[in-house]
């Protein structure tokens, strides 16, 4: 019975916990809101404020960029059109990630290739360990001489 209560308690706690996460998205009516602008701005970086997304950058220049996004939204441009506009104006560095083309494709290719090579070497390194018999020398094996065995054991304990 107690176990059942504990399980029920855990389940109830988890449901309450999940409620903490669940929040309906906020929506606004009318023309482009600040949130509409920020959805696009979040994926752009201005060339001056490197590594700070446009939606949170406090500089005057970034404020102007956000105003430009709003203007384009009013004109009915799509998100992709607006991002392309900034790329045309300032280059691909305004995007959060480089396009996977040309030399920049390497940024996406190298990590999985290295991961695969690493996995191969890991497999190669592990396989002989499995098939070869263990060597007679085992660090945990103790000497036949009881005095030496005791000394070794205590020296190891001292180190721990």
């Amino acid at each position: 019975m107690r176990k059942l209560q504990a399980v029920m308690g855990i389940a109830l706690g988890l449901i309450l916990f999940s409620q903490a996460l669940a929040l309906p998205a906020f929506a606004q009516d009318g023309g482009p809101t600040d949130d509409d602008v920020n959805v696009i701005a979040r994926e752009l970086y201005c060339p001056v404020c490197e590594n700070i997304p446009l939606d949170v950058c406090p500089t005057q220049a970034c404020e102007q960029w956000r105003a430009t996004i709003r203007e384009k939204l009013v004109l009915g441009w799509s998100d992709e059109q607006i991002k392309d506009y900034f790329v045309d104006q300032y280059g691909p560095r305004v995007l959060a990630e480089p396009p996977a083309e040309g030399f920049n494709a390497l940024v996406y290719i190298l990590p999985p290739v290295l991961f695969a090579i690493g996995a191969y070497f890991l497999f190669r390194a592990v396989r002989p360990w499995r098939v070869e018999p263990p060597t007679p020398k085992d660090v945990s094996k103790e000497s036949d001489d009881p005095y030496i065995a005791q000394l070794e054991k205590e020296l190891r304990q001292r180190d721990e």
Partner: protein, 683 residues
């Protein structure tokens, strides 16, 4: 006068560290112990000398000596004294001295240990650490002198030099430019020193590793000697990262704690290598395996420590952290390259000597799982390293700058992190050498069964995001396995010795602090994982321009904009402070004061959020700006950050686990020494 004393102390430190390295190496090669001892005394001298240099800088900073260029660049009359002291590490020159000071203290402390069984390693340890110290001190002596003065040249130009240039007159500005406003935060007291302590402490295991290679010792002695140093380095680096996240959350005003900024990643890289090292050394200690790999990892960790310092100090990457730019970049680059290549050459030279003493017998043994753990850590390291350096390579090759931002890191590291969580759940149930999937399955099924409740309950609670479901399930499995391990151990003691549960837990942890400290660290990681998934996947936000009395809604919260006041402060700020009321489900729950501080001296603004912080979530309000016409209408950005506080609580649990592993081990070691002495005498 004080500036001269400080500068002379730096010069003498540089000479002493060079002498220490040379004398120790000469003494070892020529078998002249007096030279080794002389080198050790030189090493012990560096600590006090750098204390003098650091004290001189602090004195100059706190007493407004603006004729010193560094003082004028990082302090101002309006700054409180505690921030003037922290300005020691607030700029390029001072932070290099601070780095060197901490390193001298750590290496001196390490050299004071009893070297009876390891005397042959001492000279090489001195040599390696003193070369590193000499490099850092040389940067302050020759390139980034914190004691250089300001002068007005004959043609009216402001110049910086230690000695008076011909025809120039001393320049003594009445006030300084002040510290970067982003750094004027209590977090500045702890965050950079914690990171630096983590960085410099890794020099100790590296020094011993190199000494072991030079002296051709193939045993695990160097690992056992440096076990606590490694843990100390790791906890400080971990604390530095967590505190950095908290500082960003409080000061940077973008509603998050981690932005995958290159300098953040630069601090993460040695942590990743160091964490892999922390796990793999256990395999060498227990089974005499992975000797080559452990050497590779500690060499890599040391190189990444230097690389991290290089990124943040050299200004090679532009980011919010790269407030200091200078000409020391090439020097760093050469030093990192030379030390890395020399270390690797030494390792290759000793390759045969370091063959393993055992073989892997099962893919489910602890050593195999630790190896897999290392593989995943290395995967994350490769992603992060590549993401940081690729923009530089791209610019070099194509001439075009690019941004590698958060989506790249999150997409690649997410699955690897999930893999690490799953391993964290399985590995504690495995044994060295002998585990099979059957033995692990027998130990795992009970906690796994309880874990199944998690995705079901989350699904019922309308959590349908597959990443969140997978992450929370894996994290819950780690938690249940870990708690189950504590429970099993404590119950076994309870049955055998009749101890009550708290006593049984205490004694159990005392008998194997490393294991149970590690388990507590895992629980900390679980809490942090819950928090990270909560804010990363379920953060919501909105932005609105409001007049007084208007309100904005975000989920179950409503925020009303009540009032605003704009005023000057005595410490040189112009503050715009809003008053907002926060309602949850229609009930008033808090009043917050988001503000924007404009610092006159540095002409920079800092956004300080107003935050209602609860265990379940944070309601986080930023005052984006004031309407210039009305001066009362304001724009607010509001975030709802679920479970974010679990990150900080998890950080605390994480630290507690490390303290258990380090300090309880220490107590146990003392007790062990006593029993060893008695045991030997009896034998």
């Amino acid at each position: 006068m004080v500036a001269n004393i400080g500068y002379y102390a730096l010069i003498i430190t540089f000479l002493a560290s060079l002498y220490g390295a040379g004398a120790a190496a000469y003494g070892a090669l020529k078998r002249k112990p007096d030279f080794v001892e002389s080198g050790r005394y030189a090493m012990l001298l560096t600590g006090p000398l750098l204390t003098v240099a650091s004290a001189a800088i602090i004195w100059l900073l706190t007493t407004g000596h603006y004729e010193i260029s560094y003082v004028a660049s990082v302090t101002s009359n309006s700054m409180p004294t505690y921030l003037k002291v922290t300005a020691l590490w607030g700029g390029q020159e001072g932070s290099l001295v601070f780095w060197a000071w901490l390193m001298a203290a750590f290496t001196s402390a390490a050299s004071l240990r009893k070297w009876d069984r390891d005397r042959e390693m001492l000279p090489w340890f001195i040599m390696v650490t003193m070369i590193t110290l000499a490099f850092f001190v040389s940067l302050t002596v020759f390139f980034e002198n914190p004691f250089a003065r300001l002068w007005l040249s004959a043609d009216g130009q402001q110049v910086t030099a230690m000695l008076q240039p011909a025809g120039a007159v001393p320049l003594n500005p009445p006030d300084g430019r002040g510290l970067n406003p982003l750094l004027r935060h209590p977090g500045m007291i702890i965050h950079p020193p914690a990171l630096y302590l983590g960085f410099v402490a890794y020099v100790i295991p590296y020094g011993f590793a190199m000494a072991a290679l030079i002296t051709r010792r193939s045993d695990d002695r160097w690992i056992r000697i440096t076990r606590r140093w490694t843990l100390v380095a790791w906890i400080f680096l971990s604390l530095g990262l967590i505190l950095g996240g908290r500082w960003a959350y409080d000061v940077l005003g973008w509603g998050g704690y981690w932005g995958w900024d290159p300098v953040e990643i630069a601090a993460l890289l040695p942590w990743l290598a160091g964490t892999a090292f922390l796990h793999s050394v256990m395999v060498q200690e227990k089974k005499g395996m992975l000797k080559h790999w452990n050497m590779v990892l500690i060499i890599l960790t040391y190189a990444l420590v230097l690389f991290g310092t290089f990124l943040s100090r050299s200004g090679v990457l532009s980011s919010v952290h790269a407030f200091a730019k200078s000409a020391i970049g090439p020097m760093f680059f050469i030093f990192i390259g030379v030390t890395f290549l020399v270390s690797l050459s030494l390792l290759i030279n000793r390759w045969e000597m370091l063959k393993g003493e055992n073989f892997l017998k099962s893919m489910f043994s602890r050593e195999a799982l630790f190896l897999l753990n290392n593989f995943l850590f290395m995967g994350i390291l490769v992603v992060c390293f590549w993401g940081v350096i690729f923009p530089l390579i791209s610019e070099l090759i194509t001439g075009q700058k690019i941004t590698v931002g958060p989506p790249f890191y999150e997409r690649a590291n997410g699955p690897l992190g999930l893999g690490l969580l799953i391993l964290m759940a399985i590995a504690p149930l495995s044994a060295y050498a002998s585990s099979t999937w059957k033995t692990i399955g027998r130990a795992l099924w009970k906690p796994a069964l309880v874990t199944l409740l998690v995705p079901i309950a989350l699904f019922v609670g309308e959590i349908r995001n597959p990443i969140a479901l997978a992450g929370y399930t894996a994290a819950a499995l780690v938690a249940f396995v870990t708690l189950y391990e504590f429970w099993r151990g404590a119950m076994a003691r309870h049955r055998r010795h009749g101890e009550n549960l708290p006593l049984a837990l205490w004694r159990m942890a005392g008998r194997n602090p490393r294991r149970y400290g590690g388990y507590v660290i895992h629980l900390g990681v679980v809490l942090m994982a819950f928090g990270i998934i909560g804010i990363e996947i379920y953060q919501t936000e909105t932005q609105a321009s409001l007049s007084r009395g208007e309100q904005v809604t975000l989920g179950r919260y409503v925020m009303t904009y009540d009032d605003i006041s704009v005023f000057d402060t005595n410490d040189g700020r112009n503050v715009a402070r809003a008053v907002v009321s926060v309602y949850k489900d229609g009930k008033l729950v808090d009043e917050l004061y988001p503000r924007k501080d404009y610092y006159y001296d540095s002409q920079q603004a800092v956004t300080i959020p107003g935050t209602r912080s609860m265990l379940a979530d944070d309601f986080y309000v930023i005052l984006v700006g004031l309407d210039p016409d009305s001066r009362t209408d304001a724009t607010f950005k509001i975030y709802h950050n679920p479970l974010v506080n679990l990150i900080w609580i998890g950080g605390g649990v994480f630290s507690l686990g490390t303290i258990i592993a380090v300090w309880v081990s220490r107590g146990r070691k003392r007790a062990s020494k006593t029993s060893t002495a008695s045991g030997i005498s009896q034998a």
